[in-house]
């Protein structure tokens, strides 16, 4: 299950989608909006995305991670639009027969999502706002 959506993210169908009867472990990551960044108080975040490419890159991350770890399932959901403090922007779920692979693969998938999926966030403060510059994506030669 992969999606970019403006609606609140629901982990339940994602976990159901990645779990198989062979799964002994599911690792689920929530990226949530926190009230502070680099010492500045954040009012809310605004996410933008190149939706079609973001979906494609999410699937590529999943394929990469599945090729590296013995997984039974993986899924990624990203929310865009305006998100308030405490709301979930990203869900990454990974299932595997044993817990070690689930944790490692989930962590790696989240890292890769942040490095390659074209999504942007703008922090809005009381006295201004700024698009956050995170990773410059790598060009595969």
């Amino acid at each position: 299950m992969f999606a970019i959506t403006r609606e609140p993210l629901d982990p339940r169908p994602l976990v159901d989608a990645v779990r198989r009867d062979e799964s002994g472990a599911v690792a689920l990551f929530y990226g949530v909006v926190r009230n502070e960044n680099m010492g500045r108080s954040v009012r809310y975040l605004e996410y933008d995305a190149y939706e079609a490419m973001a979906l494609k890159k999410m699937r590529e991350v999943a394929d990469e991670v599945c090729a590296k770890y013995p997984l039974t399932g993986i899924g990624v959901l990203h929310r865009i639009g305006r998100l308030e403090i405490g709301e979930t922007s990203l869900l990454v779920a990974v299932s595997s027969p044993h817990r070690k692979e689930a944790f490692e693969a989930c962590h790696e998938a989240v890292d890769r999502v942040k490095q390659t999926v074209p999504v942007w966030k703008k922090e809005v403060w009381d006295d201004g706002s700024q698009w956050i510059e995170g990773y410059v994506p790598e060009v595969r030669q």
Binding site: Y30, A49, Y50, K114, P118, V119, W131, G134, Y135, V139
Partner: protein, 83 residues
């Protein structure tokens, strides 16, 4: 002259005030030249150009990529998804 369909996101979208635009580029022009051209037409985006990566048909490409007529180019500032 290839006509290039350009997509703008995040800070570029805010500064240019448009989500998409079409630029006519000389034959044999590259992504790097498209980027320079954008800076000429919209000087306000100059500070963003040095960290800009481009994507053609939903894949990141190098500045040396040669543009073809009708190509779909997305201008990708440093990404910051997740949380």
């Amino acid at each position: 002259m290839p006509e290039i369909h350009v997509r703008l996101f995040a800070g570029l979208h805010d500064l240019v005030g448009r989500r998409e635009l079409v630029l006519s580029m000389p034959d044999g022009a590259t992504i790097g030249q498209l980027r320079d051209r954008l800076g000429e037409e919209y000087p306000i985006v100059q500070p963003l150009l040095s960290t800009l990566v481009c994507a053609v048909d939903e894949e990141y490409v190098a500045p040396e990529h040669v543009l073809r007529d009708g190509e779909d180019v997305a201008l990708i500032p440093p990404i910051s998804g997740g949380s």
